[in-house]
Amino acid sequence: MFAEKTFPVPDQAAWEELVTRFGGRMWAVARACGLGPADAADAVQGAWLRMVESLDAIRDPERIGAWLVTTTRHEAVRLARRARGERPAADRLPELLAPDPAAPDPAASVADADYGRRLWSRLEGLAEPCRSLLRLYALNPDAKYAQISMRLGLPMGSIGPTRSRCMSRLRALIEEER
């Protein structure tokens, strides 16, 4: 088989270009998974280390960004679970595995500033509490549920599910543009 379309093992300059292109997205994704700055730094570093140890398995240059973002999310979700006090149990093994380089999250490309600008332009069209909730979340990365609950008069337990619902609504508005 030909290997012409495979990803050449990068040199330091090519690596730093990957950091420039995707480092900001990876950070934003780790933080959006609910991590504080220290845990987010660990999640992002973990994704780069998975990249280092997976260099030989990465074949498709088009998918590297999506894979880095997906891997960051995996590490972030694992750290977020631990921060909530959930102890890894019988399923510890998968946690040590990086995502399949050939199958990153389909939605990973959404984590992008251009897409974010389109989201902002649509956000004002959302009804309350979605508009305020998403603004608060987006502009205050370290806001706690309790603070958001107080600001918006929503029960604490409903904030997570409401946020998910509002995000889906926002996405639906964007999809309608097409």
Binding site: A32, Q45, L49, R50, L96, V110, G116, P141
Partner: protein, 152 residues
């Protein structure tokens, strides 16, 4: 996990990136650039193998054991956090020949040890965070465990 489960996180990340609300810190970018120097060309990456079920969750002073295997080498790696420092002990099997070296690596440091006749090794006082163990045998490709995250 379905697409819908992680979509909200990606959308939130996009909103924040567009708003410039929480840019990536310089030290995080520096660590990312530095990670490239950690690659081990030609090394065999040892996948996690079976993990002993009797071992409890890691917590202060209690070890967690991880087993990795590749290329005829099994590496048992026991990590313990004590007073905010990371101790790594373990065993390489089968018992190593002369001139085998074990290197315990973190992103910032690496410490080499000659394992005992029975394959035991230990490194203490590392910074917590990411850690990997590399077994270097003369005339063979190095075997490196996948990076393991250890923190309180």
């Amino acid at each position: 996990m379905t697409d819908d489960d992680h979509l909200p996180a990606y959308l939130l990340a996009a909103l924040r990136m567009a708003a410039g609300a929480d840019p990536v810190p310089a030290r995080v970018s520096q660590a990312a650039r530095d990670a490239f120097a950690l690659r081990l060309p030609g090394a065999v990456v040892a996948a996690p193998y079976e993990i002993e079920p009797a071992v409890g969750a890691r917590s202060e002073g209690r070890p967690a054991i991880h087993r990795f295997a590749a290329d005829g080498v099994t590496l048992d790696v026991e990590v313990t956090l004590t007073d905010g420092r990371l101790d790594v002990a373990g065993q390489v099997s089968p018992a190593p020949g002369a001139d085998t070296l074990i290197e315990v690596r973190t992103p910032d440091t690496g410490r080499s040890r000659a394992p005992s006749d029975t394959g035991h090794f230990a490194v203490t006082g590392l910074p917590p965070g990411w850690v990997s163990v590399v077994c270097r045998r003369p005339g063979r490709a190095p075997v490196a465990t996948r990076w393991l995250h250890v923190r309180d």
